[in-house]
Symmetry: C2
């Protein structure tokens, strides 16, 4: 069939899960990825296709239809690609993986609100909220498959959904010193997370890349917005993140300069 | 196959959509419904099955597995029941109905927050939020199927998801005088809503029942909680709603008495 096109931000977790699916299905070439630079005004042609919305990723089918919403696109590709789907074939098992996938939205939201928080006094409240969601996932995994490491016998649809978020949460480790406590009900979710993050299909991003690109999020500026005193976004494609120094870890001290961040070209 | 069991609150929209699905699929008898009275302490046996959570509906499969989340259960039943599924068979069309279904959560939330709001000064803000979500659905329907009335050629999965919510929003009409404006981009969603609500598979509840049972929500008390000065919930199964008078429409005036509401047995 003619190729589908995905318009995406390569570092975005909602795009990485599509790449993981394609890797697992052995069909990296079934989709053409086109990079969108969120630090620049959106291309009017793409904006016309999406009817004014700017959220990414967006999939344009080979016959020109537009699909939005990362999970809708993921499930669509899993169903439409030739060969055996990644989703569990058994309806009950698929419902169980869908119950876990339903937890991803609030989990992702809590982590992003934590990294973007600018009030030192709210740190503990954000941390507690993220930890409560980890414990809930822990209990679900203990209930469904106590031995692990995955929800079922192999890396599947739920792992594809969550792994990019676990990798984004490197920004919490770096900017908030966040780690899962050794005690208190996190062992099973830690085992799951570690197995997900180590899986060979999930190596599209590195800790260094996430920490550098998401620096502006840690200052409260999301989606390519600029923190005060800065002229270049940490999400800029040039200068390359590989050529920039690691940003300062103390997010509450205010922004480093474009120059100090290696962003002044 | 042995019967699945659904534990539910009959008036709950998240349960009604399961009943609509079964009606459309001609399989009302494939599931046994067991009524849970949310105004009483939860049965310990059910609480053990759900591992402590109280949200309903819950489905217990014929071999004793527990599924939660209304949309997960709905999609599970649609896939597991014998015969032709309600979901669109074509993957792209299924993705399109899933994009509409993804709008239901925020839509339902906005309507419930509006009916539960107790601050007169916030009424316009709630109304504007609900209207913005209606306009978004309107635009989606215009984009996908301008002539209507449904998203595709017949009442389908998206209609099954939304219709119970449209019927619950009778509480906005009654307690907030909420109606869709004649102008401003609501024609297509009005056509859709009216067709959904008139469909013969969706008659499980009436306007009178919703208005009477959700009175406590209009006073800010959800899930069987009691408003100040009251001893019996409007969600009580006895006395029957059919035997009670219509509640007062001015929700901002405080609660009518159990006696005036026909709740004193």
């Amino acid at each position: 069939m003619a190729k589908h096109i995905v318009y995406h931000i390569p570092v975005c977790p909602f795009s990485q899960r599509l790449e993981i699916l394609l890797a697992l299905r052995g069909q990296r070439d079934a989709v053409e990825f086109r990079v969108v630079d969120i630090t620049k005004p959106r291309d009017p042609e793409l904006l016309a296709k999406t009817r004014g919305t700017t959220a990414l990723p967006v999939l344009e089918t080979s016959d020109g239809r537009i699909l939005k919403e990362s999970l809708v696109i993921l499930r669509y590709l899993d169903e439409a690609l030739e060969g055996r789907a990644l989703r569990r074939a058994d309806p009950v098992e698929h419902a169980i993986e869908s119950m876990l996938i339903a937890r991803e939205g609030p989990f992702t939201m809590a982590g992003y609100l934590f990294v973007m928080n600018q009030d030192r006094n709210q740190r503990d409240a954000h941390r507690d909220k993220v930890l409560a969601l980890y414990r809930d996932i822990n209990d679900f995994l203990v209930d469904q498959n106590p031995d692990g490491p995955y929800l079922f016998d192999d890396f599947g649809l739920a792992e594809t959904v969550f792994t990019p978020v676990f990798k984004r949460f490197w920004f919490l480790e770096y900017y908030e010193d966040f780690t899962l406590p050794a005690e208190g009900g996190y062992d099973r979710v830690r085992q799951w997370r570690d197995a997900c993050m180590a899986h060979p299909a999930t190596g599209q991003v590195t800790q260094e890349e996430i920490v550098k690109l998401y620096y502006d999020y840690a200052l409260g500026a999301g989606n390519g917005a600029l923190p005060a005193g800065r002229a270049v976004s940490s999400f800029a494609i040039q200068p390359k993140w590989q050529d920039r120094p690691m940003p300062p870890r103390d997010k509450y001290a205010g922004s480093a300069s474009d120059h100090a961040l290696g962003l002044a070209s």
